[in-house]
Symmetry: C2
Subunit: 430 residues, 2 copies
């Protein structure tokens, strides 16, 4: 067993990098016991050298150009710079080519280049680890890669973006609109100045691509993925959801449908009182249907120095101990291209909200179009009367293919009694 | 990297053993890909050779005496016989002495002999793995051993016995008494013919000892553990719990209190709507407070062929890949004896139910004794009037040391207005 110190080079000293250094400095002895050897940070690189930081970097070699870390006298490069190409990708490729293990929290990069980088790592017997890239501190990457492997996975369903979950929770608590709450979240530091990647679903998509690969042994795939964000969610949708006993969550769902895999990021109605429905605020949660092993549920903080540093350090200790499985659980050359499930095979119940003129016949007309498309209604709600003016009609459908709903909505949109765009949110049951 | 098949000997072919063989037979190719080598069962032993089984054992060497598996031509011995000493212990010791890795689901044995066996394994660079020993399919052993290690654990709190959770859930659903529901659970196969270990809390205690060791780096310790079962829970306690918005769960809790560790197995009131409060039926659940990494929650099936086989197979694949950390996360010689927290330091709110004669002054008398002992009341409930006859009075206290409650109850027991034993259940808040 190797007992020489594991020499670590860290690129990026933001929230996560600072948290990693701090934990290594304050809990070094304990971690060395677990790892069987010391974990020494020997070199760091970041945008600014002088800056107040959670950890002391005075005794560590400073490198201005992060790509130089690939040739540092180190065993592992920890990439925490972000960015799906450019400097981060160059550093990881150079590190693997220079016989260095890599730990990264970079979901965008891995969702695009993960399979190729995994192959590069395996050719040299190196580790490529990324626990911090999905669901923050929740050890879901390890669970899918190493634990829930005996029976095959049927589905993975997660709340993977803390910013969106915080905004949706705030909208429910306060009754306020999306744009308003987003502004607050930005002021509080819960949302980025440019929030597009979070609220548009892109960040969730990156994470889902990784979990999907781990679950199904497929190459991470962003192409065959339906991605919708939360910007269209109206306060009344959240209110109606509550009346029906549901909450609206931005879910990343990957599941086997027939011979293919369906990957979707979209807001969905999740039953209140279920673990997923109760995961609120900045928490992340992942539900896994592991076949005969049954359903599993994992919850924890999705972001922040503590949770993400916890994930990075677990990866480093694994590397120190010499336990490195293939990055995606199976050797990279055995990962198969993802075969998308035919869109027609995917079905669920739907929540539909229409703004309509409160005049006789409007419900009959909508119900008629739904019936024509083969969509049957499980329950309907019309609150308040406002003759001749706009009111909301809310319906929950029975299980129905997405395509049928789309067909019905097209016909309904042509009605002059229906105003604006409908609210359309799938129900995530079970 | 070792690519020769991993040769596996299995002792015990009950539910778990049968599930392991079945999964290896039906998913052998997939698992070999993940493990980098074939997983071959080369020898088995069980009480009866001829018996209908989930898996085909016709091509596998049969051994009548399980201890002979230690000298089989195998790399790993999987011990699934059970029993805290005797044949199981002899087999594990012999296997480790014969240079074989060991996988076991035997919590009773590990809670007593785990540290010594871990040391024995480490001396020869062997793995001793036991994911299936606690919380069934939930990968909580791996999570505590390898993932939640960066910041130190403050507490672990689990619903660890599916039989008890099933009984308590049924009692709540049906309003029936403990003895009645237990009989049904036995008829359904959810409870053993001799249910003492489950309902008395002993099984939960074994599992808690293991989780506590993993969380705190201590030698598994059954001595310093308060253990109470669920037999004294009355249907009215469950009913009142519900009125207050709680559920009664048998919890195993290990937490840092001051400089010591408190370990308790006892029924507790858990808030409905929280993940732990909603974990029902045969499910297990574990909540971990991992300091700066935040709170984590894990849920899954606690027993059965699928979940436990999933755990055993994850251990086998780890061994095949050569990734074996010390059994309890740290080298056995660094595990410290558990220092118990002084009983006086442990405090919580309590639910108290008294059967009293419905005569003037009885509430005042009880309240007086509580006040004398320094126990203050947060809320009180008295349903129905029955002058001169027995009625229930239910109280929830503020946070208070267990010792104060004990003192008050002693005084109250001397009152001739109070009938029978009170119901005393701590509240697990947060």
């Amino acid at each position: 067993m190797n007992t020489a110190p594991l020499r670590i080079a860290v690129a990026g000293l933001g929230t996560v990098g600072g948290g990693v250094l701090k934990a290594l400095q304050t809990r070094g002895g304990e971690l060395a016991e677990r790892a069987g050897r010391r974990l020494d940070v020997v070199a760091v690189s970041a945008r600014e050298r002088e800056k107040p930081r959670a950890a002391d970097i005075s005794g560590i070699a400073w490198v201005d150009d992060p790509s130089a870390l690939a040739s540092a006298d180190a065993d592992v490069v920890v990439e925490l710079m972000g960015g799906e190409d450019g400097a981060a990708l160059a550093l990881i490729e150079a590190a693997l080519s220079s016989n260095k293990h890599v730990v990264t929290a970079n979901k965008a990069l891995l969702a695009r280049h993960g399979a190729r980088l995994a192959a590069l790592a395996e050719r040299s017997g190196l580790a490529l680890k990324f626990e911090a890239a999905a669901a923050g501190g929740i050890p879901i990457v390890k669970a899918l890669r190493e634990s829930l492997i005996a029976h095959g996975i049927n589905s993975v369903c997660g709340i993977l973006n803390g910013t969106c979950n915080f905004i949706l929770t705030e909208m429910e608590k306060t009754g306020r609109g999306f744009a308003d709450v987003l502004k607050d979240a930005q002021a509080l530091g819960y949302a980025e100045a440019d929030p597009a990647l979070d609220i548009g679903g892109g960040d969730t998509a990156h994470k889902l691509a990784l979990l999907s690969s781990l679950a199904f042994g497929t190459v991470p795939d962003l192409e065959h993925m339906h991605v919708e964000g939360i910007a269209a969610i109206m306060p009344e949708d959240i209110r109606y959801a509550r009346e029906f006993g549901f909450r609206i969550k931005l879910l990343g769902v990957a599941r086997r449908v027939g011979a293919g895999i369906e990957q979707r990021v979209r807001p969905a109605m999740v039953r209140a009182g279920t673990p997923l429905g109760e995961a609120s605020g900045a928490f992340n949660a992942v539900a896994v249907d592991a076949g005969e092993a049954g359903p599993f549920f994992f919850e924890g903080r999705g972001a922040g120095a503590g949770p993400t540093a916890s994930a990075v350090i677990a990866d480093l200790v694994d590397i120190a101990l010499g336990s490195f499985e293939p990055a995606f659980g199976k050797p990279a050359h055995t990962l198969t291209p993802l075969v998308p499930a035919p869109a027609t095979d995917a079905s669920s119940a739907f929540y539909l909200r229409f703004n309509v003129l409160d005049i006789p016949g409007v419900v009959a007309e909508i119900a008629g179009h739904l019936a024509d498309a083969g969509v049957s209604i499980e329950s309907m709600l019309q609150r308040g009367r406002n003759p001749g003016e706009a009111v909301s009609i809310v319906m929950i459908t029975h299980d129905t293919p997405q395509a049928s709903v789309t067909r019905a909505l097209k016909a309904i949109a042509r009605s002059d009694k229906v105003l604006g765009s409908p609210g359309v949110i799938p129900m995530e049951l079970g």
